[in-house]
Amino acid sequence: MAVDFSFLLPLLATSFGIYLILALSFNLEYGYAGQPNLGKVFFYSVGAYAAGAITTRVLWALAGAPANVAFMQAPGAAIRQAFARSNPGVILGLFVVSLLAAAVIGAAVGYLAAYPALRMRGDFLAIVLIAVGEAGRVFGRNYEPLAGGVFGLPGVPNPFAWLPARADYAAYAILVLAIAAGMYLFAVRLSNSPFGRLLKSVRDDELAASVYGKDAPRAKGHILAIGSGMAAVAGALYVFYVQQVYADDFIPLISFAAVTMVILGGVANHKGTLVGAAFMTLVDFVTRPVFLAILGINWQPPFDLNYVRYLVTGIIIVLVLLFRPKGLLAEGPVDTVAMRVAQSWKTPAPVDEPARDDS
């Protein structure tokens, strides 16, 4: 059976890119600053709601807001899609605006989350943030004016909808990868900057950091704002990919997936996060019957393959943790110009030096 890479690669790339951004944001918050933000999906959803709300409403207004067509249903969505197809400039512009709005709103909400973060121990913070995420989801399901409640709000067009059929998904995947790469570079630069080292010191010994005159609460607030902003951007990217805002999509499993990627890949090591994200994306795809079908295997086992898929994922997580408890890649030293210069001063150790004979 043939595999249509024009569908497969954009899917894997987009999924990888979005999860990479989420995982990077978690790595920054937890790996470098010691704040386990397990409610990541909440900030993710904030970005998604913001992007969805702005885009749908502006498109609707520009498309003339026909009164007899339902805004939140499929016919309304079709109108928005059609408008986006014929106005590339508008949809691209809305995309950029939504991303910026998501980043700002996400950062603001993240900064607010710093307040409880300062007062609570790490494990408590984790659970409380999960609770916040779930509360957000239940609210989104119930409160229909926000995003259609249980029906969802369709009609958030792909920014490249004006391109022909498969090119739109491919172009979007490339854009997502580009943004993810940008985020990666940003995260690396941030971690190796003085601020990054401040975070590490706060993580390792907050008391010592304060003794040195560093403002630990402010640092934590800043990193949560940055991390949440990144998560919100991921949420905005996500909503342009699924092209629908749907409250039930924002389940705790998304937070756990990001956490697993960081833990498996290696905490406080962005390369590790990259490896972890790629690994989990691959595992998710390879354990599906579709993959077997692509390989040409037509196998109907007597048990339910879907359950085996989850079982295998669980086993993989446990095995990786048992054999590589620090993750696939460990935390490395800070990579700054000064450090590189210092390393270059180290003379390479001689391998086999004959014993000195002074006699």
């Binding site: 059976m1 043939a2 595999v3 249509d4 890479f5 569908f7 497969l8 899917l11 999924s15 339902a70 249903q73 499929a74 016919p75 969505a77 079709a78 899609q81 399901r141 119930n142 409640g149 249980v150 029906f151 969802g152 369709p154 059929a165 498969r166 739109d168 998904y169 996500y238 990919y241 699924v242 092209q243 629908q244 749907y246 039930d248 999509d249 389940i251 390369k271 795809f285 599906r288 019957p289 579709v290 079908a293 692509i294 390989l295 040409g296 037509n298 109907q300 339910d304 393959l305 879907n306 898929r309 989850y310 590589r324 696939l328 890649l329 150790a349 001689p350 391998v351 086999d352 030096e353």
Partner: protein, 427 residues
């Protein structure tokens, strides 16, 4: 003293890259070998995607039944093709959408990557609206076995739906409730697109056309214990006035349905009124006396009544039930009313491919309405309207009763004619 050479790190980056590259090469080699070992060229296998949610709170018990019903159709078709010495075979490719819009989108993309152009699924209306644009732009036919919300009714698109939207069912049910003499209904419904959609349609119809009165309670579908909500339902019924003119309407699936009945049977008010249910309430799980006698007694006593698409005397329904039980011995297709639709969706998909003579989205899309026109399936006639949704909504009214051998079953007592919107009671 010799200085030791610096130790090479076990998992250096080059090593990791090498391992990944080797895995990719091994995988590709394996794939090439498999292609070489592929079956003789004259046999052609068409894939039918089964984008059916089988995990997640909503579909973890219903999803597998619907997926297996579709797979049964594929197996039956393949057996016929073998007997006909045809070179064509169908292969079902299941993919779990997890019931979310995100999952549905990804699922369809994965299937598209595998070259699938005809899909049975997705299950819910929320998922259907999410994939609508994708299937329309990429010319992939999707036949949903259970999406019934009005929000996805769009003409001339690639989405077909085996069940009708809930509009005719709501009309039929409100007419039945009213003609049986009830003017006040306490509604309890699950908060998802199905429950909310149906409740809205029923309430609007019942109040505006028949001048009735309703009070409703909704519950979050992740809540397992529903005693408080059922308590509120009881209060609502008392507020409406618990008399011969008051009834209850329940819109639920299996787990929450059992829980609601379990709580309601301990309540004197709720045990003394008539209960109505949406189509999703016609489940053998509610009549399983060995497993839950209390629930069965309550349901019989409350005379649970509702509509279903196809009469039980439809020979194709019976044949489907028997074939399903034969293939999956300890499982019961009647646990999910949508297993019938799922079977029919798969049949329609395959017949569309065969009728078109080629595996192409546009061709199949053109043929399906034509094929469906004359197809009578396990869930009744599948003739479709302009939106690609099943239109022959001649519903059959059922209620719980005991047969001649005191075995509980769903007895049919009336028929609602879609064309004339009239109720005909059986003599």
């Amino acid at each position: 003293m010799a200085v030791e050479a610096p130790k090479v790190k076990k998992w250096s980056m080059p090593l990791i890259i090498a391992i990944v590259v080797i895995l990719i090469l091994a995988g590709s080699l394996g794939w090439v070998l498999l292609q070489l070992g592929a079956p003789a060229p004259q046999q052609v296998t068409y894939p039918i995607g089964l984008a059916i949610a089988t995990s997640g709170a909503t579909y973890q018990s219903d999803g597998p039944i619907r997926r297996d019903a579709a797979q049964l159709a594929i197996d039956q078709m393949n057996a016929q093709l073998v007997a006909a010495a045809s070179p064509i075979r169908f292969q079902g490719i299941p993919d779990d959408t997890q019931g979310t819009a995100d999952g549905a989108k990804a699922s369809f993309q994965r299937l598209a990557a595998a070259g699938v152009k005809v899909v049975v699924g997705p299950l819910s209306t929320g998922e259907a609206t999410a994939v609508l644009d994708f299937i329309n732009t990429n010319h992939i036919v999707a036949i949903s076995p259970s999406s019934t919300g009005v929000t996805a009714a769009v003409p001339n698109d690639f989405l077909f739906r085996a069940p009708p939207t809930d509009i005719p069912q709501a009309k039929a049910l409100s007419q039945l409730v009213s003609s049986l003499g009830y003017t006040k209904v306490g509604i309890i419904y699950r908060l998802d697109d199905y429950g909310r959609g149906f409740e809205q349609l029923f309430e609007q119809r019942f109040e505006t056309v028949y001048g009735g009165q309703t009070l409703n309670v909704s519950y979050d579908i992740s809540a397992q214990d529903l005693a408080t909500e059922v308590g509120q339902l009881s209060t609502n019924v008392q507020t409406l006035g618990a008399g011969p003119q008051t009834a209850v309407l329940v819109v639920a699936f299996e787990g929450d349905g059992i829980e609601i009945f379990n709580e309601a049977r301990l309540d004197t008010t709720l045990s003394s009124v008539r209960w109505f249910g949406s189509e999703s309430m016609r489940r053998s799980a509610f009549l399983n006396r060995t497993a839950r006698p209390g629930v069965v007694d309550f349901v019989l006593n409350a005379n649970l009544t509702g509509f279903f698409a196809s009469p039980s005397l439809n020979p194709i329904s019976t044949a489907f039930e028997q074939a399903y039980t034969a293939k999956y011995p300890s499982r019961d297709p009647k646990k999910s009313p949508y297993s019938y639709y799922s079977y029919d969706s798969a049949m329609l998909a395959m017949m569309g491919v065969l009728a078109a003579g080629k595996y192409d989205g546009d061709a199949v899309k053109a043929m399906i309405p034509f094929v469906a026109q004359s197809y009578l399936g396990a869930s009744g006639s599948k003739a479709m309207d302009a939106n690609g949704d099943a239109i022959a909504a001649d519903y059959v009214a059922w209620h719980t009763a005991l047969d001649a051998m005191s075995k509980e079953y769903f007895a049919e007592f009336a028929r609602w004619r879609f064309a004339t919107e009239t109720l005909e009671f059986y003599p």
